[in-house]
């Protein structure tokens, strides 16, 4: 492993951020998590409380002064995860993703430029591919996202590339699939668990249940990110990460009902997608990250089941 670094994790109290912070600290790095706690939660970081390698700064990644204060103590690398992760929400208010998902990236990049920080690992998304069909590899084009979330992530990738070229930075851009697991703050499984806790015996599902996607457990995702960060060495390292096998929304609903412990009627709303901006069928080419020896320990159904089990045990 490389020498211990001081690492900034934006969105560090969020669903994926908290898993990442734990693994970075376990590797001996000093970690500062920056989170505005809009979607992130202090309790996600409970395992790191009191650890001298870890600190949480509550603030906005869009605020240059907040970033300057963190960078003033020296930051070797940034893992930039802060974003609006609620894709469905921004249809009515597109500025949400523009500010929380794009402006955060630009502001972080500009702070790195001012302070001479070179490395950035970026949480991008399969949503950059829009509705393109087939096995989508990293060099696929055109990129016409159908959600503002995907647009803001693609806009972020664009400026990461230009900052790398202009200021000698180095970037690892990881395009995430649907990620599930413990400490999730949103998403279909989260919603299903919440609904079944509120109304046992009945589960209302948006869409007709036919959407079929790969799901990846957060632990497997974080392993992939850290492996790529240690092993890929181009100026811009772009890689898909995805789940193996796929799981339909209908099967996900069955699994969540099974994990709830009781029977429930599943009622579908109809239509081939859950919300505007939802992509009904997705498949990714993950051969690049697989070439490093990575493969997920949990397939899509197992990841969904693990996330549902956590939901009934611990979800607030």
């Amino acid at each position: 492993m490389s020498a211990p670094l001081r690492i900034l994790v934006t969105g560090g109290a969020g669903f994926i951020g908290c898993h990442l912070c734990e693994k970075l600290v376990a590797s001996g790095h000093r970690v500062v998590a920056l989170d505005n706690l809009l979607l992130g939660r202090r309790e996600n970081l409970a395992a790191l409380a009191g650890n001298e390698l870890f600190s949480l700064v509550v603030g906005d990644a869009t605020d240059p002064a907040t970033l300057d204060a963190i960078f003033a103590d020296g930051v070797d690398s940034v893992f930039h995860l802060a974003a609006n992760s609620d894709i469905a929400k921004s249809h009515a208010e597109p500025a949400t993703d523009r500010v929380l998902t794009f402006d955060t990236t630009f502001t972080v990049l500009d702070a790195m430029r001012r302070h001479g920080t070179r490395g950035i690992v970026f949480a991008s998304t399969s949503a950059v591919y829009g509705e393109e069909q087939g096995m989508l590899a990293e060099d696929h084009g055109p990129l016409l996202p159908i959600s503002h979330y995907g647009a803001a992530k693609l806009a972020s990738e664009a400026f990461i590339a230009s900052f790398v070229a202009n200021y000698g930075m180095q970037a690892w851009i990881c395009r995430f699939p649907n990620v599930v697991g413990d400490r999730s703050t949103h998403g279909a499984i989260y919603d299903f668990v919440r609904k079944l806790k509120a109304t046992p015996g009945r589960l209302d599902v948006l869409g007709d249940g036919s959407q079929i996607k790969p799901y990846l457990h957060a632990d497997d995702l974080v392993d992939a990110i850290l492996l790529a960060w240690n092993r890929f060495d181009a100026p811009v390292n772009l890689f898909n990460v995805g789940g193996i096998t796929r799981c339909s929304v209908a099967r996900m609903a069955q699994i969540v009902v099974e994990e709830s412990g009781g029977p429930a009627e599943i009622v579908y709303g109809g239509g081939d997608r859950g919300w505007i901006g939802d992509v009904p069928q997705v498949a990714f080419d993950i051969s690049r990250i697989a070439s490093l020896g990575w493969s997920p320990r949990l397939d899509s159904e197992a990841a969904v089941r693990a996330a549902a089990r956590w939901g009934f045990e611990a979800q607030a």
Copy 2:
């Protein structure tokens, strides 16, 4: 031709905008040009002064209130050209392209959403392709721009795609090459003319003169844009426009010296590019726009020569 429309042209007093406004008005459309006159010039629009189909609003496309006032009178379509077109400038201040090239796009899109305007024609750029080699078609990937200008244009494309998907808009995204011609406000020919007027007999050229690119005359570009707008009909219509043949910077310097009327020594600065973010070799696949019957009337050298001739006759 379609029925007369009320059209907003952002950046309408700029180099390409003024050519576009003239052709739209000549086709019978009502045109409102919005320009902050940072790079655009009132005198570029001299031919339209007093024309009742035309008006100029001096203001920023990043100001929602300015846009609301224009849209309140009804806007059928937007041609969004407003941008920082000085690629070299933004290395030292990346916020320039973020504000003038990206924020303008987002603010215009959001105004269209609020006012129910469906059509947007967008001036994108070959710079979205970064340093990729080979014949670059519209579906090329990955897109890793090396200039903030290219990044801000790609970021704009991303949100255009998501606004189209979310609000039933329709877009024509035209990726421009190097464009030259009369009323240019910047660029290599512009600089060469300015230098030779200031110091006849000597022309200092950035780089080693080996960069070789296609150049397109603004008149040919505007014809391509209007043809595509009338003939392509997908939700998002993405097309390259490019010059035929290519011209090296060394040959461009020769042509400009020839058009200056007197001999001059050409002195090269060295290096394979003129500035950080400059792409030394570019070739585009323009078969999509060519499939409509378009081809430029002027090849690259003829376009450069026409631009240089205008420079010595009229450039301020």
